[in-house]
Amino acid sequence: MKPCLLTVSSKVFIQRDYSSGTICKFQTKFPSELESRLDKQQFEETMQTLNNLYAEAEKLGGKSYLEGCLACLTAYTIFLCMETHYEKVLKKIARYIKDQNEKIYAPRGLLLTDPIERGLRVVEITIFEDRTISSGR
């Protein structure tokens, strides 16, 4: 068990992209602070997947209309026993982020914070200065 120190070197905030309206979408522009740590492609893939997942959550379609009508008819008591489509997708997103953190970001000393913990305002990427990884401090 090697002792190690994790210092928060800085945080990068990916803001929302409102060019398509009020739907939840994050900017995919690669921040310069991550250049030394991460592939641009990797980052863009992560962001694009996240955007697609949020689009799926907010999609207007037959399924969401059906859910809405059913909920209205049951005076919204139906949500006592089942969760909304949006919530299901949010869980999916949480799993995806955890997965990405484990596979890609943590080995590079980065941490993605689930946007829902920041009110869907930003994707927060914490950059750690990991002293065990960086040689010679």
Partner: protein, 491 residues
Amino acid sequence: MHIGESMRECEYSQISTRSSTPMETPHKKRSPKRKKWEAFPGRNKFYCDGRIMMAKQTGVFYLTLVLILVTCGLFFTFDCQYLAKELTPIIPVIGGALFLFVLGTLLRTSFSDPGVLPRATPDEAADLERQIDVANGSTGYRPPPRTKEVVINGQTVKLKYCFTCKIFRPPRASHCSLCDNCVERFDHHCPWVGNCVGRRNYRFFYMFILSLSFLTIFIFAFVITHIILSSHQKGFLSALKDSPASVLEVVVCFFSVWSIVGLSGFHTYLISSNQTTNEDIKGSWSSKRGKDNYNPYSYGNIFTNCCAALCGPLPPSLIDRRGYVEADAPQLAAPTNGITMYGATQSQQSHMAAATPLLQQQTSEPVIITSSTENGTSLPARASLTLGGPCSTFPLGQPTPPTSTPSLSCQEAADVLPIHGHTLNHTYPLQEQAPHHHYLTPEEVPSPPGMLHCGSPLGHSHTVQAGFYNPASQDSLHEDSVRGLVKLSSV
């Protein structure tokens, strides 16, 4: 050891800053966990352990509730027996169903989170400030304007920076001065419902006023029927004497019908054109502003707009009322067996620990995992009663300027503002003279005397900030007076 000493120091200082109770033992590094609703920065009231969320002033909401309950109570007690006997027992059944639906939607509107945006964390706020400074490049006398422009579906929309919440407000969001929160897709603050009406509870609010319209018309019609039928048998005066409550009901319903039905009609129009009350009042998408001005959020046809507003996916609450407050400021971790994490928050430590096998972490205490996500906590909240209320709407985004009193501004607003198909009536408070109170926004409020006339309606944030120093505390007043100037100039 140096690390150990510094940890102990920090530990000691952590304990000393908190109010100590006999229950706190020296081993605890944190005070007993608080739920997030207890530490909520806005001016909201919470009940049932954070499940119910309302505005600070709820007196009018109770009035709404009493009025509905009393009127319906009188109807069921005095009129329904006769009607069930003479006409059909289905009448009380329908009346009962309508009443329950009205109550359900009222409670749902009043108790749910309207779509409050949580305030920015200190790190976020600092990052934004840095970006703004960089973008403007000057730290001179004039504070930089805090707006961002974005093109949505071909329309240029200005995103404003909220000094209170320290975020750039998403499009269609607005800061409610009464609740001191930024609310997504802010429609208005309704005192009758005791809550803001925003993205998450607009459909309940609409269902409420719609069903209340039907209920009012229903009661009105059948009470009249009762009196007429009764007067055929006994004579008019005798009928009135037998059922005095009916007179009260008729009077109340007669005056309510105009307001409530008018309000329903107005909101039907808003829904079909996908606008908020706020936008409609300001005329954001009106063609009067320019030939190319159109609503970028509209889906193009009425049916889709209605479906999207009423049957679209219901977003979860973003503020996680029932989760636990995490230690957010950078701080030292609990003493570990050789592992120390500087600067990382609790949640990050736990995340990193979980995610990184390289960093083998041992803690003498379990690290507190942050509160469950919205999924877990908001479900019970949603399961709670729904509250809604008829809204004498209050699309007040910012507080009125300091020199104008609310009554004064309302009157003047009534002069300035076209009333959207509402008649001014008084007796049924549900509808009340809210019409001219309703659509009062800071922009309609005349500026305080002595202020210079602002020449440019569009760049108001630029022009007014010249000469104004606006620390965060003066933000709301400042923006408010800015809007007053802007409106004057554009009228």
